[in-house]
Symmetry: D2
Subunit: 325 residues, 4 copies
């Protein structure tokens, strides 16, 4: 018989809260103890996540202080730090923060957070008490660059990434008005995206002499799920050498695959996977990488981190059927 | 040399206001005297209609009392009546109301409104002082039924229509959140849509003994522009007879075409046209009709009505390149 | 330890073949013995189903005559009958045909097929040797009408349904060219859709005196997955009575839910569920029903039928994370 | 009274042929003498361009040898050269080739082609007898770089561009299957796109010492019309200086606008415009540029070139209502 852990979700009514809930509800090692939401307290979780009708009777709570083994913080940026400063959770409760409050080494009085990118530092995650879950663009870009940084071959990088609308969250705003966004493309935060901090932090840990820039141009796409990234840089490796480097680097990481054929976004939508495809033209190496921003870029990676911390199979609860089409 | 009329737009910052402005700016017989907007007064019209950058220097006004020959009211439902009760416009100013305040025969103290569906009563529009411009679903459904009502063959009708997101207006709301609406279909106001009033009013004028129902199921589609309607009813006409009836009815109406091949929505997107296709199966006649909800279903028809009232060619300013794709 | 059955898929390179494979690969009671494809024999299944990269090493076979417990026929219409006339499969091999060859009571020399709509005749499916899996529109429309037919209240029905592009299959054709279909709506097979045969067959079995018509207008939608159907008919039941009837009818059927709030298509996309919502306006009952055409409308229902035939939990392998967004 | 020229279209059944036809039909200075199509000869042009139903009775011809003033070649790449080698057109007939056969300085025995980018060399176009109309990506990228090259400030450029499906033409192919392309992003021809030749040719004419690379990553987008490009390069100019440079460069070019606010693709869809927006971050200048690939990127620019060659207003027939939504 399976010994189950208890999980709580704080901020369960948003997109990442909902995806985390969907994953945990069918995770064989987890009981969802509570799903907290300030705005929805007292209502069934199916009020906001109506696709779960018929699958759960859970009701949003306002109270999150019942003891759990793991706590997922699915809050707006800045709110996790505030929550942990105003509330004391048992030291035995592991915390996985899906926001960006602790990704750059910030700590609270009592808790240190480990940056939760398994392909970068799985061993530290296994031993961690608290996880700062990476950002979605940060995950997709880093997975495209980690092997190069590992061998010290990173140079100035030019990266363009396009993201689905779920990256902008549930709140109504001009940039997610259907009439505006449908069939539209736009740029935002050119070369200044907030994920550059965590990207550079990782890359410099792997390649301490890396002093160049990741020039990142983010675009908004007219789809809901997924991130497609292409990074281009000078590289002395041949295509064969580069593929060998990448395939060896990811050989023990079940969710990240280096693919010989060109990839396209829908291969990973609704999965926890990252696919990578390399091309070499002249002196340039081009690295394409794709993820589902809500799964490998958020809730899926959070559950992956939970699996690692609690000794479950890394893939447990994450063998998801892709939408494909 | 062309003698131009002066036009004013009230409520110019919304979708129908913007479309009316786009059409009038390139209309050879019209000078746009002002575009009023409460929320945007003092700002260039390109602030909200950024596709017009480089095409006009007009600035939104708060003041709409300069004399014009024609005034387009592009307001939320209920606001036109309020505006006309609180302001006096010169009796010589013709008014075209794109809202639904005057479609069912309501009048103000001094103004009577003619229902502005040219294919139903062009002569009355030509002689009118004020126009109640039809609703978008109402236009598309009526154009599918007018010929039958004319010859007294209307019976109980079952109609389903699907509309683009622009039909729901510019305001942020759950039903126009990109993440929700993309790739989604939903129903609303089943059998109770507010356009049924004007539809029945027209049909009963043409066929006074029509006492049956138009059972109308409206759906929300995952596109921005256009309405596709299919109406089904019992009909004793053969397909040939029905096509003959429809083609004769619309022979003098340049924007409504009866087409022998199956139609699809994008044939009319970004145009003022309505295409109709008929099928006969057993005793049932199926009538497919399509329009662009913002043009033939709103601003285009408003300009068509203006053309008729001022003696311009009915098509002036409305020979629009369709998007096709 | 789980005792697994062996499954084979014939016609594995198409959409329903691929979806069946995705479901079986993660089904705890199934080993996929082979996936046959004439066009792809010898190539990895990931050649056509590239989202499965990293999840399976299966290679398409040309040969399908190794013995299996269950055989899924994922062929074009007409090809299943041909296959079974030209090949002999062991009598112990159960066959689930996803095409339309055997839905109307056709048999082969040696095999009888049971119409595989569990909500209609689960007991017969449990005892069946061979299943004719229902069509996608047929499933969605029938689930909206079964309870009424059961109590003899079916009358003439007017139904409109809209389907995603996957319903048209993998073959390149004008109606699935992206440039044409994006943002487009069109009608086809008005009142003559081939699924009307199986729909009427079921309805008359439940309500033998039903001699009226299901007037079905199918539309093509500009999305890939899912079917949204609205049926309207005269009904003497109150809304409360209708909801009671439907909820009781489906109380023991885990995948079909009667929902009090309005439904929208994406609630069921990438799941095996059917959601139903009822409205009553005047004398009319409106029934909205939604499914994923490739799952509850095809491969998901096929696996559900397999579960029933082999005594597995009806939901096994079908607790799928919806895409939601 | 307007003196009209006669125009012929060769290859009228494709996308650019159709767009050219749409533009010419409403051009006040043009009579369409014929529209040739090998595959559709004898059929009405509305057979393939069904949005033109009710607007023209033109029938496709197989014969294109009636004399015209201007001939638009809307053929697949390679076919223009073949056509001109196999047929003799009067020397007085001006030819505008929308393919890529003559963009790199190739000539026929009797004809020299001028590269038809008005913002680069309008004077030469005015004097030209034959035009090689630029490619869609080539147009959008060059318009983002011309002012820098003019003043010798071009350095190595990193460019990403995303294109609508119409860029891939009318032919059915995997990359334009709706089921695949909807909600999908993919890369192709990374750093090797065929438009790089004409881009480099122009840039080197403006800045002869430019020996660096335009590193161009093309992506396929899930929309039908439009191109969004972001180019990034080192630049010593301040943002103010760059904006001044660009605005002065384009001050006399009516279709290209430098905009102070961030731009988005739908601002130009269904128009002949190019909008440009500049940003400066650290030492990097980011240049966003957008066009409609079928208009400014093909047929619209072809008509603009015709206007210039025949002394018409550059904007004649090109004051198009944008779709906006």
């Amino acid at each position: 018989m399976v010994n189950k852990i208890k999980a709580g979700i704080i901020g369960g009514a948003g997109y990442t809260g909902g995806e985390t809930l969907r994953l945990l509800l069918s995770h064989p090692n987890v009981d969802v103890a509570f799903v907290q939401s300030r705005s929805q307290a007292g209502k069934p979780v199916t009020t906001t996540h109506s696709d779960l009708i018929g699958e759960t009777d859970l009701v949003y709570t306002s109270d999150f202080n019942q003891p759990v083994d793991v706590l997922f913080l699915c809050l707006s940026h800045g709110e996790s730090k505030k929550l942990l400063s105003e509330n004391i959770f048992p030291a035995t409760t592991r915390i996985i923060d899906l926001g960006n409050d602790f990704r750059l080494g910030d700590t609270t009085d009592s808790r240190e957070f480990v940056y939760g990118l398994p392909e970068f530092q799985r061993d530290k995650i296994i031993a961690a008490k608290n996880i700062a879950n990476p950002g979605c663009f940060a995950t997709t870009i880093q997975l495209g660059l980690l092997p190069l940084a590992k061998v010290g071959l990173l140079k100035e990088v030019h990266t363009t990434g396009i993201t689905g609308s779920t990256g902008a969250g549930q709140k109504l705003q001009d940039a997610t008005h259907f009439t505006w966004r449908a069939n539209n493309i736009s740029a935002y935060k050119t070369l200044t995206h907030q994920h550059l901090g965590e990207i550079n932090q990782t890359l410099k840990k792997l390649q301490p002499d890396f002093s160049e820039t990741v020039n990142f141009v983010p675009w908004r796409g007219d789809f809901t799920r997924g991130i497609f990234v292409t990074s281009v840089l000078d590289c002395s490796l041949t295509l064969e050498e580069a593929n060998k480097l990448y395939k060896e680097y990811y050989s023990s990481h079940p969710f990240t695959q280096v693919v010989d054929e060109m990839i396209d976004l829908k291969q990973v939508v609704n999965t926890n996977k990252c696919l990578i495809h390399l091309e070499k033209v002249g002196s340039k190496l081009a690295i394409h990488s794709i993820t589902d921003n809500l799964l490998k870029g958020a809730s899926g990676q959070a559950v992956q981190n939970m699996n690692l911390m609690f000794g479950f199979d890394e893939r447990e609860g994450l063998r998801l059927k892709s939408t494909v089409f």
